[in-house]
C-alpha cells in the first residue's frame, strides 16, 4: 500500500520535472543589440543607472542564473523588451541634450515615487534598489547650484506676437477639433479656479492648475480621494520668460491639458479622460486614442492618490 503510494508520488515528481525541463526549451529570444549612443552623463551618474536600471533599460542586459530559468525568464524577457521600448540608456544619447535631461528627471521621479526599478523585480533583486546616496548623485547632477546673477532677459518677440493675436481675436470663438479619444475642448477652463501652480525649472515652464466647480467643492470638503465624478482639471503651461532682473514672467502659451473624471465612461483609462491641446491654434495632441497611455503611464506612480499629482491649495470655498 505505502510503496504503491510512494511510487505514484515519484512518478508525478518525475513527470513534473520533465515538464519543467521541457518548458525551458520555450525561450523567447533576448539579445543585446549594440550600444549605439549611450546616455551622455558623467561616469558616476551612469554607474548608478548601470547598477539599478541597465538590466532592463539598456542593450547591456545581464541576467543572473535564476532569471534564466522559466518562468522567471519569460517575465524578465517581457519586462526588458517593454522597458527598452520606453527608455533605452544605450540609445538615448542620440537625442538632444535637453531630452536626455528630461528622461533623467523622470527617472529620478520614478525612483522617488517607488515606481522604478519595478517593485516586482526589486523583491527578487534587492541589490538593484537605488540607495539614498545614489539617488543624491542623480539629483545633484540635475540640480547644480544656481548660477549667480539673474538670467538674461528673454527675446519676447514671439510671445508678444502671440499675445497681440490672442487679444485681437478675443471677440471670436475658435473652432477646436476634438481630441483623438473623442474628448471635446472645454473653452471655459480659463474661468475655473486655480488650485495650485508649479514652477517647472526642469523644462523652463510654469503652470497654473485649474479646477471646475465640482473639483473646488471636493477640495472645500476635503473629499479628494477618489475625486467625485464630474471633477475636471486643466493644467495650463507657458514658457518661463526671464525679464533680466530675476523675475520670470508667463511667456508664450504652450498647451492646456485636461483630466476629466467619469469612473464608468473612462474606466479603461483609470477613471479619467485625458486630453491635451497645443499652441494658440489648439491643435489636439496624439495620433490616435492611444496617446492616453502616455498620460496614464506617467501618472501611474501617483495611483494611490487617484492619479493626481497636484496637492490642491487648502482654503477653497
Amino acid at each position: 500500500m505505502a510503496s504503491a503510494y510512494g511510487a505514484r508520488v515519484l512518478w508525478i515528481a518525475v513527470l513534473a520535472g520533465l515538464v519543467f525541463l521541457g518548458l525551458q526549451l520555450i525561450r523567447p529570444t533576448l539579445t543585446n543589440p549594440p550600444v549605439t549612443a549611450e546616455l551622455q552623463a558623467p561616469p558616476e551618474v551612469r554607474a548608478v543607472l548601470r547598477q539599478s536600471c541597465y538590466s532592463c533599460h539598456s542593450n547591456e542586459t545581464k541576467l543572473p542564473w535564476f532569471d534564466q530559468v522559466v518562468p522567471a525568464y519569460w517575465i524578465v524577457t517581457k519586462d526588458v523588451k517593454e522597458a527598452r521600448a520606453h527608455l533605452n540608456f544605450s540609445e538615448i544619447g542620440k537625442l538632444p541634450a535637453p531630452q536626455q535631461k528630461a528622461a533623467l528627471y523622470e527617472a529620478v521621479n520614478m525612483i522617488q515615487l517607488g515606481a522604478m526599478p519595478l517593485p516586482s523585480y526589486l523583491r527578487v533583486h534587492p541589490g538593484a534598489a537605488v540607495s539614498a546616496e545614489n539617488l543624491k548623485v542623480l539629483r545633484d547632477y540635475l540640480n547644480p547650484p544656481a548660477p549667480a546673477g539673474a538670467a538674461a532677459a528673454a527675446d519676447t518677440s514671439a510671445a508678444d506676437a502671440q499675445y497681440k493675436g490672442w487679444i485681437a481675436a478675443s471677440n471670436q470663438t475658435l473652432t477646436v477639433k476634438a481630441s483623438p479619444n473623442g474628448i471635446e475642448f472645454l473653452p471655459d477652463y480659463k474661468n475655473w479656479k486655480t488650485i495650485s501652480s508649479t514652477d517647472r525649472y526642469d523644462n523652463h515652464t510654469m503652470r497654473e492648475i485649474l479646477g471646475n466647480d465640482v473639483a473646488v467643492k471636493a477640495i472645500a470638503e476635503n473629499h479628494i480621494n477618489p475625486w467625485p465624478d464630474g471633477t475636471a482639471f486643466a493644467k495650463v503651461a507657458w514658457a518661463q520668460q526671464p525679464d533680466g532682473k530675476g523675475v520670470s514672467q508667463t511667456g508664450a502659451f504652450i498647451q492646456v491639458e485636461f483630466m476629466i473624471r467619469d469612473s464608468k465612461k473612462y474606466a479603461s483609462t483609470k477613471g479619467w479622460g485625458w486630453a491635451r491641446w497645443r499652441g494658440t491654434d489648439l491643435k489636439p495632441y496624439g495620433k490616435d486614442a492611444d496617446f492616453s497611455k502616455e498620460c496614464v503611464g506617467c501618472h501611474e506612480p501617483v495611483r494611490q492618490n487617484d492619479y493626481v499629482y497636484t496637492m490642491p491649495l487648502g482654503g477653497q470655498q
Binding site: Y105, V108, N109, Q112, L113, G114, R123, R139, L142, A150, Q162, Y163, W166, I167, S170, N171, K190, N191, K193, T194, S196, S197, T198, D199, R200, Y201, D202, N203, M206, E208, I219, N222, I224, N225, V236, W238, Q240, P242, G246, V247, S248, Q249, T250, A252, F253, V256, T280, L282, P301, V302, Q304, N305, Y309, M311, P312, L313, G314, G315, Q316, Q317
Partner: protein
C-alpha cells in the same frame, strides 16, 4: 506581548519581501497643501478670483499669482479699454516655494509671504492694501487718485495667454 511582536516583525518582513506588501510612499499620501493656505483676517479670499497671470521671482524664491474679479479679467483678456476700468478688483498672492515632493524638477507654493489688493473705485480712486506675516496682517494701506509704484507695476502685468 512585546516579545511576541519582536518575533513577528522578522516574519512580516520576510512575508512582505516575498509577497510584496503595499507600502505607502509618504510622497503620495493624499493631502491638501495646507502649508500654503491663506490664514488671517483678509478682506477677500484671492483664490476665489480668476487668474490673470503669474510670475516667479528667482532671487527671492517666491511665486506669485495675480487674480481679478469679472471687470478686471474682462479687461485683461480683451484689452477693450486703455487701463483697468473702475470696478476692477485685483489681488496678488506671493508664496515662498518648496520642492514638489511628487515631482523633482518642480517647485510649488509653500507659506504665503504676502497678499496684496488693488481696487479701482467708481471715481477712479486707487486703493492698495498689503498683508504679511503668519497669520497675515495688514502692513500697508494707501489710497490716491493715481496708482502708487507697486500698483502701477501690478496693473502693467499683461494677462497670460489662455486661448
Amino acid at each position: 506581548m512585546r516579545v511576541r511582536m519582536k518575533l513577528l516583525a522578522p516574519g512580516m518582513v520576510f512575508l512582505c519581501s516575498v509577497l510584496g506588501c503595499a507600502k505607502t510612499n509618504p510622497r503620495v499620501v493624499t493631502t491638501l497643501n495646507t502649508g500654503a493656505m491663506l490664514n488671517g483676517a483678509l478682506p477677500a479670499n484671492p483664490i476665489q478670483g480668476r487668474v490673470i497671470t503669474s510670475w516667479i521671482d528667482k532671487n527671492a524664491g517666491t511665486m506669485s499669482t495675480l487674480y481679478g474679479n469679472d471687470v478686471a479679467v474682462q479687461y485683461a483678456r480683451t484689452g477693450a479699454q486703455v487701463g483697468y476700468p473702475a470696478g476692477s478688483a485685483l489681488s496678488v498672492v506671493t508664496w515662498t516655494q518648496k520642492e514638489d515632493p511628487r515631482w523633482f524638477g518642480g517647485n510649488i507654493p509653500a507659506a504665503a509671504k504676502s497678499v496684496e489688493y488693488v481696487t479701482i473705485a467708481a471715481d477712479k480712486h486707487y486703493t492698495y492694501q498689503r498683508y504679511e506675516g503668519s497669520p497675515l496682517k495688514q502692513v500697508d494701506q494707501e489710497a490716491g487718485v493715481t496708482p502708487n509704484d507697486r500698483e502701477s507695476y501690478l496693473l502693467s502685468q499683461r494677462a497670460a495667454v489662455m486661448p
